[in-house]
Symmetry: C2
Subunit: 160 residues, 2 copies
Amino acid sequence: MSSALQHIQSLPTWLIGRVASRGRSLVGDAIAAEGLKLMHHAVLAATAEYGPVAQADLGRRLAIDPKDMVGMLNHLQQAGLVLRTPDPADRRKNAVTVTPKGTAVLARCGRLAASANAELLSPLSPDEQRQLMALLTRVHEAPSHPRSSARADSTAPSTH
Amino acid sequence: MSSALQHIQSLPTWLIGRVASRGRSLVGDAIAAEGLKLMHHAVLAATAEYGPVAQADLGRRLAIDPKDMVGMLNHLQQAGLVLRTPDPADRRKNAVTVTPKGTAVLARCGRLAASANAELLSPLSPDEQRQLMALLTRVHEAPSHPRSSARADSTAPSTH
DNA sequence: GTCCTATCGTTGGGATGCCCAATGAAATGG
DNA sequence: CCATTTCATTGGGCATCCCAACGATAGGAC
């Protein structure tokens, strides 16, 4: 086993980073036809999904810095895709909603993004694509891993 | 099946991007104890692996911009971890090599990075980790599948 | 009611990663 | 000899991410 992972490019983080970079490139190029950047599309999609939502909520869900969220929403609002309405229940918040135009753009972008994602995973069979997504989901949804790397690894065999 | 991938956060590119981000964070924090950033470590490791190598070669292998490579090698050289020697066979090139100090730092960083990578994949069993790496490798190593196998690319060995 | 603390949107600065372009020096091929 | 290319370097621009503040507002403690 000592030889297989000698290369820095074979380590998990590096490999995942390369695949992620290619995915960003594919999706970004695809939705560029609609005039949106990657993160703008993500914000637009999340806004459409989570109804009227505060900027801070959007930022937490998408792991976007509040500073950058301001600029993105400015851009999206100027393009007429989203609306910022003061929240009567909490006047600190902006209730962000999607305009009809935003919904239309999002529909087209969604198809383009789906196609780009399909191209990214095209080397795999549909079954393998599901396997990959399932494994990544489990890696992603294991947040805490409380105490560090010392012991938690394989001492509890039967769990799965 | 149509509803499962409604969320932007469930799309492959987004999921891979989040996992990649967490991996970068884990590895970066780990090797920060040795005073190296992620990319610095990658450059150092690639230099150690590929013997004396030109900067442009390093950049191509690691997908690093030549502009940034200059700064990284400046930093690594100033820290005494690598050496830039003019290549007698091609005086445009700098033959980058690792110093003994660089080798020592790389050994420690390699262990730290391996531990961080193990923590990233810790939600998966060893077998599942291998499956994930195999799937990602196939996605990564499938270059241009876009236009169906046009043979036009192989017609250009005329460069030399 | 008055404090204290926390959150919200916003603005600022700084570090980094990635893209496009240009330079002078040097190698390569005709 | 000449045209093309590569190399290291420098420059600018844009986007992502981190840290820090600010005024305004909300919520709880008292």
